[in-house]
């Protein structure tokens, strides 16, 4: 066990865990922040996506020992960001969600995309969001919502 000081959603948090513990489980089990989901555990589905120093990151494969002092942002706080808020608004307006399980990761990835590419094309969306899997098949609404958020941010 080792003690780690993490900056999560702007707050300093301290955890004592095994160094190999993936960030996902630190968030869910140590910090009781269950907005970030476990879908596969092998970075295949994107449900666990958080932002690590602004980079969309698969928290299920990043051990807490490799985080360092990089700030972490999770779905719980993404609405505090202008781009995050626009994405959330668009998700509601376009009625994107079906079961909802993948959507934390979808939103985090969509925000990361719009922060870099404010006006993404269909190809951009397909490439950037292609690693986030939705069993319910809400892809069409996701694409529509990303474009709506893009227009709101313009």
């Amino acid at each position: 066990m080792q003690t780690y000081k993490l900056m999560v959603n702007g707050q300093a948090r301290e955890v004592s865990v095994d160094p190999g513990t993936p960030l996902l489980w630190v968030l869910r089990e140590e910090l009781k922040m269950t907005g970030t989901k476990y879908g596969c555990g092998i970075s295949a589905c994107g449900a666990c996506t958080v932002h690590l120093a602004g980079v969309a990151t698969r928290s299920c494969v990043v051990p807490v020992s490799l985080i360092g002092d990089r700030p972490i942002v999770t779905i719980e706080a993404i609405g505090q960001d202008r781009v995050g808020r626009a994405v959330q608004d668009a998700w509601v307006a376009e009625d994107v969600v079906q079961c909802g399980y993948c959507q934390s990761g979808q939103i985090m990835s969509a925000v990361a995309l719009l922060k870099i590419r404010r006006n993404p094309t269909d190809a951009d969306i397909e490439e950037s969001m292609g690693g986030n899997i939705c069993r319910c098949g809400t892809y069409v609404r996701i694409r529509k919502a990303i474009k709506a958020a893009s227009q709101q941010l313009a």
Binding site: T49, A56, M129, G131
Partner: protein, 207 residues
Amino acid sequence: MAYSHTIHGSSAVLILIACLGWSSTRSLTQDNSQEAGSTKREAGLAAWQQVYSVLTYPRCINCHTATNYPQQGDDRHPHLFNVHRGPGGKGVPALNCTTCHQSANADSTGVPGAYNWHLAPLSMKWQDTNDNILSSTEVCRSLTDRSKNGSLDGPGILRHHQQEPLVLWAFQPGRRRDGTERSLPPLTHEQFVAATRIWVEAGTPCP
């Protein structure tokens, strides 16, 4: 008069012998020099073959691809999870290389890592678009082409092999998710650098 002719004749013979001797010496020196150069080139070519064996091993060639995506595994299959090369070989927004690959191996989760994880540029591809590994000649010529290799000269290539974190990673590639070690290139890093040095000092000859 006869004596004079004899002296002149003898002198001429002596001069001729001297010239022949000098010529032989010069020729011998040239032969030695040529032989040394040839030996050095042969040693360089032999060393290159060792370097080539590492460059085309999966730990290296999986990122020196000719495609729009990296490869994975000893069988060099396309990287899973819809990963794309992206601009600069670093992936695309929201799906960068560093979305998963951190600055060190994550043995607890099986994800390899090293500082600045990314693909080599397409100019440094060591396979063709049909996933066939390029020949020793082709890789050598590509690697030594300064218009393709980021303007590296011989010493620069040696430094790259000595110091680049992603090169170093190939010799300490970490564990897979199931706990098994990833396979290693046919040389150790020290041997790889030594072979590179011999090749560079021989003038980076290509077969």
